[in-house]
Symmetry: C2
Amino acid sequence: MTEYRNLDETKAFASLKACRPFDIREGLDGDRIKACTVAEAGSLAYNYAAMPVDDEIIDTLQALADEQQLIDKYKALLGGEIMNTGEKRMVLHQLTRGRAIDGLEVHADGVEKGVFYEGELEKIKDFSEKVRNGQIKGSTGKQIRTVVQIGIGGSDLGPRALCYAMGLVGPQDGCTKKIEARFISNVDPDDACTVLEGLDLESTLFILVSKSGTTQETLANRDLVFKVMQDSGIKGLVPQKHVVAVTSNTSPLAGDPDILAAFFMDDHIGGRYSSTSPVGGVVLSLAYGFDVFRQILDGAHAEDVSALEPDIRNNGVLMDAMIGLYLRNVLGYPYTAILPYSQSLHRLPAHFQQLDMESNGKHVNRFGKPVSYSTGPVIFGEPGTNGQHSFYQLLHQGTDIVPMQFIGFREKEGTLDAENGGSTSQTKLKANLVAQIVAFACGRENAQDPNKSFDGGRPSSLLVADRLSPFTLGAVLAHFENKVMFQGFAWNINSFDQEGVQLGKILAKKVLAGCGEDGKLLAYSDLLGMEF
Amino acid sequence: MTEYRNLDETKAFASLKACRPFDIREGLDGDRIKACTVAEAGSLAYNYAAMPVDDEIIDTLQALADEQQLIDKYKALLGGEIMNTGEKRMVLHQLTRGRAIDGLEVHADGVEKGVFYEGELEKIKDFSEKVRNGQIKGSTGKQIRTVVQIGIGGSDLGPRALCYAMGLVGPQDGCTKKIEARFISNVDPDDACTVLEGLDLESTLFILVSKSGTTQETLANRDLVFKVMQDSGIKGLVPQKHVVAVTSNTSPLAGDPDILAAFFMDDHIGGRYSSTSPVGGVVLSLAYGFDVFRQILDGAHAEDVSALEPDIRNNGVLMDAMIGLYLRNVLGYPYTAILPYSQSLHRLPAHFQQLDMESNGKHVNRFGKPVSYSTGPVIFGEPGTNGQHSFYQLLHQGTDIVPMQFIGFREKEGTLDAENGGSTSQTKLKANLVAQIVAFACGRENAQDPNKSFDGGRPSSLLVADRLSPFTLGAVLAHFENKVMFQGFAWNINSFDQEGVQLGKILAKKVLAGCGEDGKLLAYSDLLGMEF
């Protein structure tokens, strides 16, 4: 029987607060670095050597994970328990990887959900192959050469980050042809204007993504695109025939008989967890082929399975989640930097920013009662080595400590490299990553010139894998999804709703309706030159 | 006579700590919103109505600005005083706007610096016009259609953000032709691989940007590009003739007689402050024409002039800087979100992240003594409305308060807009911005369901202008540069060096040389599959 209690009601949390942090400045050495590695899916591994935790703390984190029944709750989630308590929905994104864990069946909406998601996968496979091989063409008979995803939030950040991440995928991963993928998200008309500039509409396919089918930004951008198509004067161009929808099967978008195709998700998939559903699957399959998407799903699934392990020392994502909680709730750090040493992952921090902050930026527990401890931290990040020449100054020498989560790969993904000064670029990239972890952890005193002193003691972890293959990408994605889930369980919050976005929506509607008598809305509207 | 003392040695700071924050939840109304607007350059204005400050606090902030002699120090900086104390350099980026303030002359390196920077501007004008009109062509006789900037940190983030920001510039701003601009920054070879994919080398010009001429990433990427050119087998292609350099005139890059052209900056321009020097000027002038760059300079210059005003109520950037200090040092907020409601500004937060965190992420004062108060905060951000569907959940309902800096425009920049549901996209964009400010400030209680309650009291400011013209872009850029400068003066730190990047560089070299006996470097190198 699973029980839900607040973090500060557990015995383990009280013990955790009494633990003395491990001093990485003194204690980081080669043996520790080797010992503190946990294998995850495929070649992915989590290393926490440069985190301020010792055996006592890890034992206490294990006790906390056990006391909060994190693995049991994860299993309950997989089994279809109502985990999104506020909205009374199940949480089924792990089932969108294309196969159930342990053959678990989940029935809802009159179907077995695993079967439903697999059916959508089959549709994506069939459709994407037909578009890629030219069986399905644009309305004037041209082959599709560009796909444009129109979506915002979870319908944009995850799919976009994954598409960029796979930009250099090649024959070794079964990709011999690429279709360009672009994205329109912002309601700012300048976004669509920029993306559409120079686009050959006849060979472009638009993917409209909105679970509810009512997202303001997405509908506005659809109408912008339709207007551009209608104004183009191209003979025979039928806008609807250049559009597919990804939505729930009860939404207004689903019912449009004129569009080319519709692919379905459902209310049990939160937007920020939907990258492995058709929300990410359609665009990834069109851009790189269904096989690439399938391998992403395989990686995510393998990672989901590895997260079932109860022993924290053999479960990297559980270790990551619990150390994060120690950093947040005992050491009091209000942020975490996500730093991939891979330019292809340049938008992954933006996706994980949504994933984490929207899931765990909550002030009430799952029963709606305010909590008296900190929940989700601020997440930000940019790829290394770029960040080294930017905000790392503050990370090294600022007055506050910012924990870091590094991501690195042994091999490059693309076909290009060269030597300069005795080493290749890929070797330099890795050397910098190694150097930064050690510099942050150990620092270096300069007694003569404190301006050149580094205090050290700045904690970081490292997710490392052989190569940014589709499988590894799926595993990295699921690592962070499951980390957020475990932390949410430990904090006793609902990581799957987002009521915090509602008030802004209500007030925006009020502004669009003329502000009423609200002097504040009127004054700001006036400042922005709005006329009513 | 200017004097330098730590923040906590001032009388005004003691008074400031005794002030009670203004309650924006209750106190924000139409009159306050109108009253709390400060005009800056052109149509730019700073509004601080939703900041927790009242007249008493503002008077105290004025007293603090006076006691720390912020305007005097700014004037001293303009006059060529050694403000980068650690490196013993002047700080002259304001002089790169193309004209001195009040005709101030600054002599260094055997020249009058204003004359020197103007000379470089003339070179940029001449060169960019010749490339754009086809007088200067690629080595095989093709017209230049793409420019690729190779640089990292300040040689990348600012120029890139400004180039993206000007993506929709048109005839109304004197731009009738655009040359595509791309950027290679990361030492990760996958970065260059992605950017070079599909590029017509014969019609591409590369801009190598490194002040020292020794930046590891930039030299590695240069060699990658040269290799690709040499391997291309294109007859008559002379790599050197597709390269210009932006560097200091004493650097190794400056001496290459074979390259097409060299443009100079100097040691008195920090990388993160170099967007208005040739570091940003060459690529912007090539991409959009020198006139567009000139207007950016004009906007920055006008903003620099407006920042000389001693009265905080008439100096928006001084107000912004001092309120930021109040948020950081009295209210204790460790971060600030930068939220432009403009997709064209999507990389501006990344530039301001460097600008702020690299400048003010310091733990010692300008004399090298550790300070006992917080300095620069963590900066992060994404454009609205995108962020509303992402991390705003935490900003609205998280357990911590994150101050916000909004940026908005009355008009769109591009040519495209459409109606949907009774309003245009641009109107929706502005309505959302208005709604968010008010929702964050005032909140809304829901006694029945605390999960739907918004505490409010979440402070924000708004930078607003008519339109994202080149002039306005320059003004916004200078606003943030000068904000960082004023805060650095108030904290008594040197905002113009970056010693925090050095230890990582030293250790990376050690790793590339085989790690020596260092067990830590060896173990991490082993984890990353490096062989020695």
